[in-house]
Symmetry: D2
Subunit: 336 residues, 4 copies
């Protein structure tokens, strides 16, 4: 494979740089950012990498076969488009774009150009989500009943996007990966507390039909950090807690139990919290971004379609756009 | 005060019997249930108490001045009405009734009869909620921003009511107690997974206006039991975790912080979870139901209005009815 | 079986009364305490039970076939002896006596009288310890390597005994039950912080030979309550956490691993906390004291030897006496 | 200040390299290791740093004013000695040496040479231990009563030293820093389970006199990783949990309470876990090793005595040597 360029050296960019550097050595060919200070930082740690403030230079470099774009979301569309038109494969940070229209155009363009378009839905590559998908696919959970995700943080407000666009891409990408289809409708309810008019607390409801629902609580304004996802099936259920690195996934051996109500039974159950074994499978500690980088390189080299391809990116943008419309309509349900 | 009668000896009834017995001794005069087996249970433990299967006998007993009604919710209206008409003061289990119309009638009737009508919103009397209310009233939290409540359980399905009517009265009563006014609108989103057509997972959204929202996740179908409520203010926030009896309330010294976004700041914050001290105030362990019984007796003796009076009971029924209408309308928002 | 008498109505007595009452109904014949206030308490709740301040009356009652003795430890020897001589079977609270000599005499006497002598090592009858014993007996853990027990509490100081005699009987009884033999030696190290000259913090070390050791940390003076026991085997290990009622026993799929040291391996391991699955088997919630009462009744009826018989009680007293001698000798090791 | 050299590039070395590089830039002058592979690793990341396999070259480099030695413990004495004789200031990994005699000689030599000798007791520089020391010095805890430390790990066995020399330096350094004097005596009890004859589980008891004791449980063979230290005072107590990065230090508002024993009091206390507020002070997240590097540089530049100077290193070696003698004497107490 030809070399790779990393565009945008803010928060995610340097992480991509580190991973591509470890993976490809000098195959990490060029880094690009408008801010000379960010370029300097890279220069100190990776003295061999070419640096530029000019994206065009990356695109015209014949040794660059692919780019990883980690600039702010509103710039993704333009940069990805230019890269695809310049016949580069693209790994782009989530969300892929800020509108469905743009996302559709990029998916289409990538197909026409015959280039790989992959979105960095990084959680999909984490060992925990892989294990969850594996359990689900193996039928361990039975039929999915609901997914409940809580992703709440203290206090970093952003000015450019609201909490839905900032945090929900993670939840939506995982939910989309597990369910494997778009919901029928989305309703989102949120509130604005600070001056910029950006929602800082939001609840997303996804209705997949046939009793399957998903809910995500995303929040910049929580006193506690929580990353807690319940994936409930009619055979077993599991909890994915991303903040318990020792046991991120716990599988509960208890599905739906419909019972006649009896007072004694009720007394007993009310003090018990579960009624079966709990298994916490071994999950190796691997940096998800390393797996992202690896998968992207593989796809570029083999032409294989990425797990989180442009179509997946488009689905998430579709959900985000619907969520945005719903939140502006005070939680009115948007049919997809 | 005259004696008290307890009506309904299923789950809550015996707990009321125990508390009134400890409080009043022989002042606990009579227990009533249709099921002789439940009466037998009482007979064994409280041999001095009169037992009857006939509610009329309780009402016509001149030594009975007040009744505590712990029968199924759909019978509350009729029994409370009869008791008030028989000039008894009434403590009734939550929800007060199953419709707003009935609740309004009872509030009205209690006023006309000059009897105390109190609803057993038991959480309001717990030491933890009292402490939270105290902190809020003292301005410790500043202005309320949102309340997020999670009350999820494994596996006890009921046939008579859905999860909203079963569990949400607790959340709604606490939220109502803290906010002190009705929300402008309610939207509820849920799903049915078992055969009876009762929703077993639901999300309630309350919009109080001026940026204040509340959300409650109630669930019979969770692999884990969670009782977690965030009360977020613009000065401090707190978490009420009813399953951590040692530290049910934790107060976080960090309010809204709107910042310019900087990459370095963002890096730092992303790995930190909070930015101030945490205080876990001492909360005495007192059985809330004992405080309920005590408060009811006091109100009956002094004529004082209960904290959770008929009007509070009515507000909760109003919210439940709106939530029910919304859930049947697939989450459509109901204005109150 | 004839009736039962409960002697001593302080802390444990009423719990025994409740369990024997539930189990035997009127078979719970008599309760005895010197303090009329304690008798009054029983009278209120169990109006049918005969009450007396005179132990002799219990012993001469021909309808009483067995007694449960829950008086302070220093009175056990005398009361048990009298009861055995009066041909009553005996259940006695732990520790069985306050000296080995007394304990030996009682074991001997019980044998000669042909009466059941059982010690209330209540943990042995808890579902969690039963499950642990079952796993151990089934070879799941492999060979035992060590047991580490932490039983620390805040703040209840006793004047009559030190923390070793107060808390360690639990740890020692569990360890004895699991290991099944006396250690070769005991060393105990402690400190006195309050005025009564009673040790309030102590560490007990038991050496069973062949690499098997056990350690117990008992403490009245901890800011946090901990009940944490590691039972480590060369196949698997488990943690018994008595304060996590949902998952009191967690079995870790990882035994001894001796490795060549490599820097990379070390780096990896240092950030990981375990290297296998964790299973938390379902443990029913049953009150251990109920199982104690049931087992005692069974043994009296059938003549079967109790799991925690006089010999077990004697072993624990032997360990406590050795621990006491060691602590007075500043941790000098005492050979058994 | 002149440049610095880092000797030994195994586990700790590269961490020191990173910190000195960030701190001093080109002031990090040279790295030394016998293994060319480790040098290669450094070359990749820090291309400007001089590399050598020859320690002599470091010592004779006039631009090197100080060295940081991160080689295996048994080599410390020789290397530190040579460095001091070459008039270099020295930062050496813990333990400073493997014998008291050697440690004494180095302390003496450093004084005679007028060079800084600092030991990398890294925990002393962590924000959590700094906060604890600050609380203690401010009298918040009152008089120290005991320190209990648990530092247990799964499964990395070392061949060169036992668990006491591997893990206990951390506990001993913290205890020494907080108490500020040597204990009167040490007793250590351990067991060997794997083939190399190295103790893998050990309990260290330190007696400081006047009721103050300290205990450390160090363990390579635990199914769970625990880093839990109780520092108990007669005013307040605190728990330092190094694995809860959000709240590593929790201060409990409850000291010794000696009470008359009453049954009711006992009942109440037995179900409570604490009787006062709990405060979790804000602890910034700063890499302790960065503070180590900074402090060393400062001491070298200003001639100031390091917090963890040679004398502190000597005290820890003294404790380790005593612990070693005790463990070989089956826990016999060693007077210091």
């Amino acid at each position: 494979m030809k070399g790779i360029g990393v565009i945008g050296l803010g928060y995610w960019g340097p992480l991509l740089v580190r991973n591509f550097s470890q993976l490809l050595g000098p195959g990490l060919r060029v880094c690009c950012d408008r801010d000379p200070a960010q370029l300097d930082n890279i220069a100190k740690t990776y003295p061999g990498v070419r640096l530029t403030r000019n994206f065009e230079e990356v695109l015209t470099d014949p040794e660059v076969g692919a780019v990883a774009i980690a600039t702010p979301a509103h710039t993704h569309y333009q940069l990805v488009k230019q890269a695809l038109l310049a016949n580069k494969s693209v790994l782009v940070e989530k969300p892929m774009t800020t509108s469905v229209e743009e996302a559709e155009e990029l998916v289409d363009l990538a197909r026409r150009q015959g280039q790989v378009l992959m979105v960095d839905h990084v959680y999909i590559y984490s060992p925990a989500v892989r294990k969850i998908k594996e359990l689900l696919d193996a039928g361990e959970l039975g039929q999915l009943l609901y997914i409940d995700s809580v992703r709440i943080n203290l206090g970093l407000f952003r000015r450019d996007v609201n909490v839905v666009w900032d945090l929900a891409p993670h939840d939506l990408a995982i939910i989309d990966h597990l369910v494997g289809r778009l919901p029928r409708s989305v309703a989102t309810f949120g509130a604005v507390h600070a001056g910029q008019g950006m929602e800082d607390v939001a609840y997303l409801n996804l209705d997949f039909g046939r009793g399957l629902i998903a809910n995500a609580h995303v929040n910049w304004l929580s006193p506690v950090k929580i990353r807690h996802m319940i994936v409930a099936g009619d055979r077993k259920s599991l909890v994915f807690n991303d903040l318990y690195p020792d046991e991120p996934v716990r599988v509960y051996d208890s599905g739906v139990r419909v019972r006649e109500e009896s007072v004694d039974e009720r007394r007993r159950i009310l003090v018990e919290c579960r009624t079966g074994d709990v298994l916490s499978p071994y999950i190796p500690r691997i940096e998800p971004l390393r797996a992202v980088a690896q998968h992207f390189v593989e796809c570029v080299e083999t032409g294989q379609t990425p797990i989180t391809d442009g179509a997946a990116g488009l689905r998430i943008v579709r959900l985000l756009e619907a969520a945005e419309r719903s939140i502006k309509a005070q939680g009115g349900r948007i049919t997809l």
